[in-house]
């Protein structure tokens, strides 16, 4: 119960005081949006209604700028893509059928700005939020991943942001008992004031456990449970003090949210027990827009209405006003719909787990969402108008005027591009320099802060290409996941860049041996009110939607993060793409490194290499970003994927690694360093077949390529397979377990260069600690 004692702006009061001015602009609404609310209601909104509309119609909740574009994800879905899709875009997270009665749900979400303000808590609550989305589908969360982007590694603020973000991702995920199975780290000046923290969670369930966020069954009860409601996330909304229309000032509102992973862990177990006992009809997590979102979405997805009493909400801060309670983003809360018969059993389960709850009201047949405060009505709306009928903008967009000049500025025309390393010594130095650049250096200072073992089902995790989780212990059925983005390529051409990100994630999943099935994405861009940025967004979405259609895997959900810009400086367009694949048996997963017992195995390069250095890590090392991104051939990606999946299924290959950032050079180094097992390769045939100089062969970032290692006894069978599928491939060299070296030979002065793995590891693993440790 609240101690509040001020005159409340009731619906009745609002009707009788049509001329009262409300602070709609301070709540972020535009004049025409406010007018629309008045038109919908046929009167001015109450302060509480205004609070609800303002948060639910915000960019973050309503997707008002992005909606018209995101529709393509639905429109470009074919029958084939729909086959395994149990729940598509629109619910908390999409659900994909895995067979054997199992289903999997996954989603990526951003927590960018909060992580800049308070890195630890911002990142921690980001993980907490995405995990609640997964629970609300009825699933048990089984793993997390994180895609992180920071400013330059040697910038002082990176030293503030990075350790905090990493500790926050780890602190929250580790405490939940969710293995972190992969992610990305990128450093680029464009993220200096706008770091990106994107978190992915994946969960599994039996088909019958699927739950949706809807309030159905007149007379069913509505309950809020988990943490108490505080003033979190409503810092800017203190203007709503005016809802009391008197002089009592609200107390201070927190500017950041603090996560409580322990409460969330208990909430997970409690929810799973509720699902198991069939004790909830519908369920919704509370994230952005808190109770406003939960009540209006549950009600509008149901067939009737909902009536709740807001004074029954358990508060952490008794001075909160009704509008603030509706907007609060306090973490670790859930809302559920429960039948009266199950109420007692529900309470017993919550008592067992020590979770607080309060019954707020019930499902009605009025079609209205009615919220009372001490028995007086302060909200009376059609819930659809809040949750689904928000404004939709066709923001103007236009190809940036600067793009032609950028695309014309190819790396090949620069000093560094014309003066590529030629001799053995130059090439060796260039490889060592490239792989010890911050973006290719050993990320284990970061990833060792994440628990990759908990649960006992992790079959692959960082530093391998995909994270692989076993779901069914009897059969070995499981999933593989990868998240990727190539923002520099997206900057050069957002359509192609988005497809390159998709292709890379698809390839990583297939490299591990999993059959790609579904996509989730997190679209991080600058301001949509800036037409060139809106163009980048529109192009990236179009590229992604077309790419998914061509690959035959649907987008099942995702998240949009706009306004990642400070002044005129926007981040590179950063569509982060997560691909999920399926395994009949995770025992088939393919490791990404040469194993110790693999001495003498043959190393094959699959795919073709073109002179594609624009936007590459090699170009970045030389301070250049211009030209055109590598070409994408999604049919080729499918063929490559099929080969890798079959090779894993038939046990033909013992190691496989995709080629992406840093090209062939980075892939060779990573495969050798994984277990400290050396290799010897020769570039001659490759340079000759694809018409390349050695440096371009090593550093080009052409898509559709992978390296594999296989026993000689499998070579004939493997060659038959690639020939039958028409995939260009060539034998590049052999695994040399004894040498402790990576040797690269070719038609260049000196004949070959050698990198000692121990020395390489030492400098490779020192890069990140050197910059971020105190």
């Amino acid at each position: 119960m609240s101690d509040q004692d001020f005159s409340i702006d009731t619906v009745e009061h609002a009707s009788s005081t049509p001329d009262t001015e409300l602070p709609w602009d301070e709540l972020g609404l535009k004049a025409e949006e406010y007018e629309r609310i008045v038109a919908i209601l046929g009167r001015r909104p109450t302060a509480a209604e205004l609070a609800m509309y303002s948060v639910m119609w915000s960019e973050h909740c309503s997707y008002k700028s992005s909606k018209v574009h995101l529709r393509q994800f639905g429109e470009k879905v074919t029958e084939e893509m729909r086959r395994d899709l149990m729940v598509g875009i629109g619910e908390n997270a999409g659900v994909t059928d895995l067979g054997d009665g199992w289903a999997v749900t996954f989603k990526i979400e951003s927590h960018n700005h909060p992580s800049y303000v308070e890195p630890y808590q911002g990142a921690a609550t980001g993980v907490g939020g995405i995990v609640r989305d997964i629970i609300s589908m009825g699933a048990r969360p089984v793993a997390v991943m994180d895609a992180l982007r920071f400013g330059e590694i040697d910038h002082p603020d990176t030293r503030r942001v990075l350790p905090g973000v990493v500790a926050g991702v780890g602190g929250y995920g580790n405490s939940l008992g969710l293995p972190n199975i992969g992610g990305e780290v990128e450093f680029d000046a464009c993220y200096q004031d706008n770091p990106l923290v994107n978190a992915l969670a994946v969960g599994v369930m039996r088909h019958e456990d699927l739950r949706l966020a809807n309030a159905s069954g007149v007379g069913n009860k509505v309950v809020l449970f988990g943490a108490r409601t505080g003033g979190d996330g409503i810092g800017g909304a203190s203007v709503l003090a005016s809802e009391s229309f008197d002089d009592s000032k609200p107390s201070k509102r927190p500017s950041v949210q603090v996560g409580d992973p322990f409460s969330e862990k208990v909430l997970i177990e409690c929810c799973l027990e509720l699902f198991g006992g069939e004790l909830v009809e519908g369920i919704q997590d509370l994230g952005a827009a808190g109770i406003s979102c939960a009540t209006s979405e549950l009600a509008s997805n149901g067939e009737g209405g909902m009536h709740v009493e807001l004074t029954d909400v358990l508060l952490r801060d008794p001075t909160l006003t009704p509008g603030e309670i509706l907007m609060s983003e306090s973490q670790e809360r859930m809302m559920a719909v429960v039948t009266p018969e199950n109420a007692e059993a529900f309470e017993r389960t919550l008592a067992k787990w020590g979770v607080e709850y309060s019954w707020l009201g019930e499902v009605t047949d009025t079609g209205r969402l009615v919220i009372d405060w001490n028995g007086e009505t302060i909200v009376d709306v059609d819930p659809r108008t809040v949750a689904h009928d928000g404004p939709v903008y066709e923001r103007p967009y236009e190809r940036p005027a600067w793009l032609d000049a950028v695309q014309a500025d190819s790396f090949a025309a620069t000093e560094a591009g014309k003066d590529l390393p030629r001799t053995a010594a130059e090439l060796g130095t260039a490889v060592a320099e490239l792989v010890t650049s911050p973006n290719l250096a050993d990320p284990s200072w970061i990833t060792d802060q994440y628990d990759r073992f908990v649960g006992g089902n992790t079959a692959l995790s960082q530093p391998d290409d995909a994270g692989v989780i076993r779901i069914d212990e009897t059969t070995g059925l499981g999933v593989g996941l990868s998240v990727d983005s190539t923002p520099r390529h997206a900057y050069l051409d957002p359509y192609t860049g988005a497809q390159l990100a998709l292709a890379q994630a698809y390839r990583n999943v297939a490299t591990s041996g999993a059959i790609p099935k579904a996509v989730s994405d997190c679209l991080n861009f600058g301001s949509p009110e800036d037409p060139p940025i809106m163009w980048q967004f529109a192009e990236a979405v179009r590229g992604l939607a077309d790419g998914c259609r061509d690959l035959g895997i649907p987008v099942t959900g995702g998240n949009v993060s706009l306004y990642n810009q400070t002044g005129g400086n926007a981040i590179h367009p950063t569509p982060v793409v997560g691909v999920l694949g399926a395994f009949d048996d995770v025992g088939r997963r393919t490791p990404s490194g040469f194993e110790r017992w693999a001495d003498g195995q043959a190393i094959y390069l699959l795919g073709e290499t073109a002179a594609e250095l624009d936007g590459s890590e090699y170009a970045r090392l030389h301070g250049h970003l211009g030209g055109r991104p590598p070409q994408v051939d999604l049919q080729r990606e499918k063929t490559l994927g099929a080969v890798l999946i079959n090779a894993s299924r038939d046990g033909m290959v013992d190691a496989a690694h995709d080629l992406s950032e840093g090209g062939l050079a980075a892939a060779l180094v990573e495969m050798s360093l994984r277990f400290g097992v050396g290799s010897r390769v020769n570039l001659d045939a490759l340079c000759e077949r694809d018409g390349l100089d050695p440096a371009t062969a090593l550093f080009s970032e052409s898509a559709g390529r992978a390296l594999v290692a296989l026993p000689r006894s499998e070579e004939v069978r493997f060659k038959d397979m690639i020939t039958a599928r028409g995939l260009p491939a060539m034998r590049l060299g052999v695994v040399d377990a004894e040498s402790g070296e990576l040797e690269v030979a070719g038609d260049f002065e000196g004949g070959s260069f050698i990198l000692g793995l121990d020395e390489l590891r030492e400098i490779w693993s020192a890069v990140i600690p050197a910059h971020v440790e105190g």
Partner: protein
């Protein structure tokens, strides 16, 4: 965890098959709010040939178990101090009574990571754990030396056997006063010691200790994460192939059965 209603999802404690004929040793696995590795510990028991019995922190009786594992995790969020709140659970009192060697045989008890922290907070084991010297959570494959093979939990190891098991914690730096350390060394109660670089600043490179009677053992690294090829730490035989941790569980099961049961189910039933 103890609930019967839960979907039989991955790593479930109860026996999933129903036709399990393995009713060798009954090993209790305790779940506190915030416990994370309970499913893993139960799986390790099953793979080793025993029967895992879920125990709930709030229960006031141990029931029919022959040994108890207090698993890892972040019970009560590690708030206040790791293990500080959990040690007051009703079940912990029962565990302490049964583990007291003066009261009878002395129930074998193993605390892993957070479980070790709980056992020190409960004064069942000496010393305590403070933050790692580098102040970070760290997850890594760790080599240990088994220095005492006379406990129920280490009997099947050979003396000074090196084993690889995952280490993952934030508060893993073992500390005790000089007198206690001296006594632990003198009595051979340092059960596991870190090999190679000390990962967290622990005194005397201590990774695990036992009580004087040897029935209560605690260790920071996680043997239950090294019991199944394909899901363990990397080792010489290949990626994620390490299963050295399994011997901890077969040791206790065979010592309870009074036989030499191994991981082979057929031979494991007492």
């Amino acid at each position: 965890m103890a609930q019967a209603s839960e979907t039989p999802l991955i790593g479930e404690t109860g026996s999933a098959s129903g036709e399990s004929a393995l009713d060798g040793a009954r090993i209790g696995v305790v779940t506190f709010p915030g416990t994370l590795d309970d499913r893993d510990a139960a799986r390790a028991v099953r793979i080793a040939g025993g029967t895992a019995v879920p125990l709930w922190h709030a229960d006031d009786a141990l029931g029919d178990v022959d040994a108890v594992i207090v698993p890892g995790g972040f019970s009560y969020g590690d708030y206040l101090r790791a293990g500080a709140i959990s040690r007051f659970a009703p079940l912990m009192r029962r565990i302490a009574e049964s583990a007291d060697p003066s009261a009878g045989a002395g129930l074998p008890v193993l605390g892993i990571c957070n479980g070790f922290q709980i056992l020190t907070e409960a004064h069942l084991l000496p010393g305590s754990m403070i933050k790692n010297d580098h102040l970070r959570f760290r997850c890594a494959d760790q080599v240990l030396r088994v220095e005492n093979t006379s406990t129920a939990w280490t009997a099947q190891f050979t003396d000074d056997e090196p084993i690889t098991v995952p280490l993952k914690n934030q508060d893993g730096q073992y500390v005790a006063d000089a007198a206690t350390l001296e006594q632990l060394e003198a009595e051979g109660r340092v059960t596991f010691r870190y090999v190679g670089t000390n990962p967290n600043g622990s005194r005397h490179d201590i990774a695990g200790v036992s009580n004087a009677a040897g029935n209560v053992v605690g260790l920071m690294p996680h043997p239950e994460h090294a019991v199944e090829a394909g899901f363990g730490p990397d080792d010489a035989t290949g990626m994620r192939s390490g299963t050295d941790g399994l011997t901890v569980f077969t040791s206790v099961i065979s010592s309870l059965a009074g036989s030499t049961a191994g991981p082979d189910p057929a031979g494991g039933a007492a």
